[in-house]
Structures are given as C-alpha cells and as structure tokens.
C-alpha cells in the first residue's frame, strides 16, 4: 500500500513541470483575463471621492453640493492623468458623450480657480457652469453604475441585458441586441458542421477500416495531408476557389449551368464548406481508430447467425463505433465553436461567429470586460458539453477488450 502511494508521488513529481507550465502560461493569465468580466475599476480609480459621495445619493435629480465638491476635487487631482482618461473612456461606453463631459469639465474647472472660502453651493455652480449636463441624474447615474468594484454590467451585456435607472435587469433596445443571436448562430453553425462531417466522415472512415492495410495507409495520408497545412492557407485557397471569377464559377459558366457567376464568397455556404474541409480529419481519425478494432469475425458471426446487412450494422457495427462518433463529434464541435479566421475571411456581416466579436471587443473597441464576459460564457458552454460527454461515455457499456 505505502509502496503504491510512493509510486504515485514520484509520478506526480514527473508531471510537476507540466503542471507548473500550464499554471503560469495558461491558468493564471486566462483567469486574470476572465476576472475582467465582473470587475470594474477604472471609474472608482479616477474619481474615488465622487464614488464614495454618490453612495448616499437617492438617484433622483442631481446630488448634494458635497458630491459636486468631491467631483471637482477628483477632476482637479486627475487632470492630465491617464487614469482620468481611462475613466472617461469607460463612462463613454456606458453613456455616449460622457467622455467629453468629463474631460471638458476637468479642463474648465482648472481654468476657473476655486479660491477663497467655499460658499455653500459654489461647487455645484462651478461644475454646472462647466457643463450643464451635470444637472441631470443620468450623468451621475453613469458614474454610479460604473463605480464597481464588482459589476454584472459586462456579463449582462454579453446576454443583451442591462440595468435600467432603477437598477432592475432589462433587455437592451432591440436595435442594439446582438449577442444572444450570435451565440445561437455560433452553436447552430458548429452543430451543422459537426453533422455534415459525421455524414461525410463515417462512410470514409468505414472504408479506411475495411480496405487492405497498404491501401488504407495511402488513403489515410490523403485525409491527414490537409491537417499539415495551416488553417489560414486553406481558407485563403477557398477564397480563390470561390471568387466571382474563380475556377468554380468559371467551370459552372463553361458548362452552361449558369449564365452569370454565382455569389459564393461572403456567404454562410462558404463558411460551412471551408470549416467542414478543415475539421473533417478530426471526425475521421477517431472513427477510424474504433472501426479498425472491430474484428471481422464478429460481423461474419452475426451474418452466419442469420442477421441481414442492416441488422449487422445496427446491432454489431454501430454500437461499437459510438465512442468514435462521440469523440469525433466533440472534437469537431468544440473546435468549430472557436473558429475565427474562416468566417472572418469567407463570411459576410451576418455570418460572423462569437470569436469575431470577442476579438473585436478586445482589439478594436478596447472593451476587455465585454470580451472576457463573452469568453466566460463560451467557456461555460464548452465545459457543460465536455461534462455531458464524459458522463455519457461513462454510462455506455464497456467494450470487450
């Protein structure tokens, strides 16, 4: 017993470098990024006094003079500091125009030096003189909404939800709703690609498993060959093939099938076609692995006992390939969920999948919180799928060795 435990400890030591590596380059940065989905620091960092003063505000009309004074002090301290600019950017994402309100108020307050003993209401007057928008509850509401430290704003936004002025969860305007549709589209596209790759891959894998070994290895090479070419290269090749003046259109025109070139590029068809091409090997290989291990004797025995070909397939062949179907489908589906470059290059505006929107939020609009929230939800979906699959795999009867 002790020896056995000692053996396990030693093997743990052997994987320790890998665990450390994963922790440092994967788990820590990813969790740090995902934390952005529900933390909110920019505004509280730049306007600490205002955020505290706003806690006692009732949300109706402008707050008291002390809050205006706190804002004036915060703006004076933060003027020209990057922290204030970051807060202005964050507020502008919440409410259009807040960037200018904040920055111009900071600028004009600095010009009208507050000197002498502050009279009651003087802070309110000078801030309102800088920008009358400070007289509206909405302006202060934006600061309170983004004051953190924890916030569900981004997670709600990733589901097309927001908090209204009273703090209740409500749907965003229909014209700004986007992500639920994108989630559905991403799942539907991935499911379609998985179904098609199963339909195409299953017979091919069966063929590979049944032909003589020499031929099988050549055919397997043809399946593997695309795997050794980059995704970007294969996508670019599809771009050339499907172009308006590309070989496919030229052929169709030459055969007289169409009078004018078809629009293949920038459609869902092009996206699904290229994804199918890229992901097909991930379906074929696990199927081939399980099919090759099904002994011919079993099929012959079943046939010898009077089962017709269909019965042999349903009762003997198919159940034994189930683990391969599960593994292949899971691999294709999860990879398809993460496809970025193929839809970006071959799809139109309405064909983009979730990764495009994550990339857009992170790289172009600078909304890291939103990018993290979207990633978190996608990660959740993948996690649930993986859990369901392992559960099913465990429930399925163990195959004879």
């Amino acid at each position: 017993m002790t020896r056995r435990r000692g053996g396990i400890d030693a093997s743990l030591l052997l994987v320790a470098p890998l665990v450390l590596f994963l922790l440092v380059v994967f788990a820590l940065p990813v969790s740090g990024l995902l934390r952005l989905a529900f933390t909110e620091t920019a505004v509280a960092h730049a306007l600490p006094r205002t955020v505290v003063a706003l806690r006692s505000w009732n949300g109706l009309g402008p707050p008291d003079d002390a809050t205006f004074a706190a804002l004036a002090v915060d703006l004076a301290a933060g003027r020209g500091e990057p922290a204030l600019a970051a807060a202005a950017s964050r507020l502008n994402q919440d409410t259009a125009g807040m960037r200018t309100v904040l920055m111009s108020t900071a600028r004009s307050l600095a010009n009208t030096l507050l000197d002498g003993p502050a009279a009651e209401g003087s802070a309110t007057r000078s801030v309102l003189a800088a920008d009358p928008l400070w007289g509206q509850a909405e302006t202060w509401g934006a600061i309170r909404r983004t004051s953190g430290p924890l916030s569900d704003t981004e997670l709600l936004a990733a589901l097309d939800l927001r908090r209204d002025a009273r703090g209740m969860i409500a749907a965003v305007d229909p014209e700004r709703a986007i992500y639920r549709r994108v989630f559905l589209r991403t799942l539907a596209t991935a499911a379609l690609v998985t179904a098609l790759s199963l339909a195409l891959g299953y017979p091919l894998a069966a063929l590979l498993a049944r032909v003589p070994a020499r031929l099988a290895s050549w055919l397997a090479l043809l399946v593997l060959l695309p795997l050794w070419t980059g995704v970007l290269v294969r996508t670019a090749a599809w771009m050339a093939l499907l172009a308006r003046n590309g070989p496919i259109n030229q052929t169709l025109l030459a055969l007289g099938l169409f009078a004018t070139p078809r629009e293949f590029l920038f459609t869902r068809f092009a996206v699904v076609l290229a994804m199918l091409h890229i992901l097909l090997p991930y379906m074929i290989l696990p199927l081939y692995a399980v099919m090759r291990r099904i002994p011919d004797d079993q099929l012959r025995a079943a046939a010898g006992l009077g089962a017709g070909p269909a019965r042999v397939f349903w009762r003997v062949w198919l159940p034994q390939t189930a683990p391969g179907i599960g593994a292949g489908a899971l691999m294709v589906f999860i990879q398809a969920l993460g496809f970025y470059v193929t839809p970006a290059l071959l799809g139109g505006g309405a064909d983009q999948m979730l990764p495009w929107f994550i990339g857009y939020a992170a790289n172009q609009s600078g909304e890291w919180g939103l990018a993290a929230a979207l990633s978190l939800i996608l990660l959740g979906i993948v996690g649930v799928l993986a859990a369901v699959w392992t559960r099913i795999a465990r429930l399925s009867p163990a195959r004879p060795a």
Partner: protein, 348 residues
C-alpha cells in the same frame, strides 16, 4: 616620432572613450510613423534630406496606432519616441490627456503657413487622405455618386464598404440626399442616425465588408464588387502598379489628417521643431506626391505639381472643396454607442 604617434593615438583613443558615452546618452531624434512603403516614402522625402541638410541624424521606429500605446509610453517614463505620426482621434485624445507637447507655431513658420485642417494645438498636419467612392472604369462608364452606389437596380453588382460605423453613416446620408455640409448636423439627431441606418439597411444584401484598406482595392480589382469605398491613395497605387483603369470620386468624399505630435517630455523638442520646420516646406512636401498621393498640409504644396498629380492631390482646392472633413468631435462622443448599434445591425 613613432612614440609621439602612439601617444597621439592613445590620447585620441582616451578622448573618444570619454566622449562616446556622452554622445550615446543624448539620443538621436526619434521619429515614429506607420512603417512599410509609407515610411519608406517619408524617409526618402523628409528624413534623409533633413539629415543631409542639417547634419542631424534621425532614428526611426514604427507603430500601428492606438492611444493606449502612447499612454503607456508617457506613463512608463524614459519614452524613446520624440515625434510621432498620429491619426486625428489620437491627436485630440492625447492632447486632452497631456500626452503631447504644445506646438510652438512661431518656431515653424506660424499657423498661416498651413491649411487650417493641418493646424492643432498639439499637432502639425503631415498628410491628408480621403475616403472616396472608387470604381472600375472598365465596368462602369461615367462618374458614379453615392446615389448611384445605392442604386443596385440600375447598376447591379455588389458594393464594398469599410466594416465600421464611422463614414458609412455619412455616405448613407449623402446617398439619401443630404448635402455634405449638413451631414453631421443631421447625424447629431436621433432621427438622422435612424435615417442613415434605414438607408444602409436597403443596401445590406449587396454589401461586402472590408477591414484593411488593401482589401478594398483587392475586391475592386478581382471584380467581386462594382464599386467600393476606399482610401484614395490605395486605389491610385494599385491603379498605377497594376495598370488598372480605376476611378475615384472626390465629390462626396470624407477626409482626415494625420499629424506630427511631439511626445510629452521629449528631450529632443528643439530638434523636432527643427524637423517640422524643414518638413513644412511646400517644395519638400510636393516631392511626396509622385511616390504616394497623400497631400501635404503646407500652403503651396500643390503649386508646381504636374496636372496628373494635381488631379489626385487631396489638398488641391478643386478636390478639397468637394470633400467633407470627418467630424472628430462627433465620433469621439458617439463612436462607442453607434458601433454597438452597427455591430448589432450587421449581425442580423
């Protein structure tokens, strides 16, 4: 004799050893631009002639933009950049946030030396470029307008637009009959934004989106689209290098200006101003046009251009008077919200 030579060499070596580290401390004037063919042109037109004329060496770097990069540089202290080419949005934000030095206009010939769109508290215009309607003259005879761009019934074929809300709302309003000078007035109302989106929606099934400016020329060149919006220079460059028959239309185009900005706290401020003074010479700026058709902002930069180059210069008064400057103030406030709406619209 030999001993004296050895001594002299030794003394010289010692002196050099003392001086070189001091020289290395005072770093060269470091200028940062967009890299690639564009920066090659800058080097040929501005950097090398400046060094030849003044003996002041220039070090170069390149970047791809983004206010965050500038913030980090200034925050980190010990900023290696002196003079940076920035887009108008970065210029405004950076000036507001104190990332740039104020320009001493008296040291570089005064504000009147430049066209008004090249003058800013924190920046001196480098180039102007326009977002134009571009088409292939082999496939479309005549001069299409934004109205024609939207008229897919009369002129069947796909249309290319930049994937983003900025500029497309402006073009849509012009196609809807709004005069260019009224575009931003209309856009500042909710109704105006709705009107632009309704117009864009009409064209939606026919739209192909590009993200980087080479893609626009590529879509046009391959015949994937009949017309596209594009940066004017990219279309002209492809037109020249691949001997195409592309047309661009200045009327109804939108323009913006890139500027030189001096980074806050730069130890080479004086040298940077000296460079800006040199670069603001209209005769120098005019040398850019034969290489890349991005117009300079100094008055008189178009004066001695041959007709074919004058025709493609954005600052040629004839072209300029038909173009509309992108309203940075409008976009600074509204880009976030309108981008959300645009992304939701495009994803439907």
């Amino acid at each position: 004799m030999i001993r004296r030579i050895i001594l002299a060499v030794g003394v010289l070596g010692f002196a050099l050893g003392c001086i070189l580290p001091v020289l290395a401390l005072a770093r060269n004037l470091t200028i940062v631009s967009w890299g690639g063919a564009y920066q090659d042109a800058l080097r040929q037109v501005y950097f090398q002639p400046f060094t030849a004329a003044t003996g002041i060496p220039i070090a170069e770097d390149s970047w791809t933009g983004g206010i965050g990069v500038l913030r980090t540089k200034v925050q980190a202290g010990d900023n290696p950049w002196d003079l940076v080419q920035v887009e108008s949005e970065e210029l405004q934000l950076g000036c507001e946030e104190g990332l740039f030095e104020k320009i001493d206009w008296n040291a570089i010939g005064g504000k009147d030396h430049y066209l008004p769109q090249g003058v800013h508290d924190c920046g001196v215009g480098v180039i102007q470029y326009n977002f134009v309607l571009a088409w292939d003259k082999d496939k479309f005879q005549g001069q299409p307008t934004w109205v024609d761009f939207w008229d897919v019934a009369k002129y069947p074929g796909k249309r290319g637009l930049r994937r983003g809300v900025k500029m497309n709302l402006e073009f849509a309003l012009m196609a809807d009959g709004v005069a260019p000078q009224d575009v931003y007035k209309v856009l500042r109302s909710e109704d105006g934004v709705n009107r632009a989106f309704v117009k864009l929606d009409q064209l939606k099934p026919y739209l192909v989106w590009w993200e980087l400016s080479p893609q626009a020329a590529q879509l046009l060149g391959s015949g994937e689209v009949l017309m596209t919006s594009s940066v004017h220079g990219r279309i002209i460059a492809v037109d020249r290098s691949e001997h195409r028959n592309f047309g661009i239309r200045w009327a109804g185009s939108l323009y913006t200006v890139d500027s030189w900005a001096i980074m806050k706290g730069s130890p080479n401020r004086a040298l940077a101003l000296k460079f800006l003074d040199f670069a603001g010479n209209p005769a120098v700026e005019a040398k850019m046009m034969p290489i890349l058709p991005y117009g300079g902002l100094a008055k008189g930069a178009n004066d001695n251009l041959p007709p074919d180059l004058l025709a493609v210069s954005p600052t040629n008064p004839q072209n300029l008077s038909q173009s509309l400057e992108i309203d940075d103030q409008f976009w600074r406030d509204n880009l976030d919200k309108l981008t959300q709406r645009f992304n939701a619209w495009i994803a439907k």
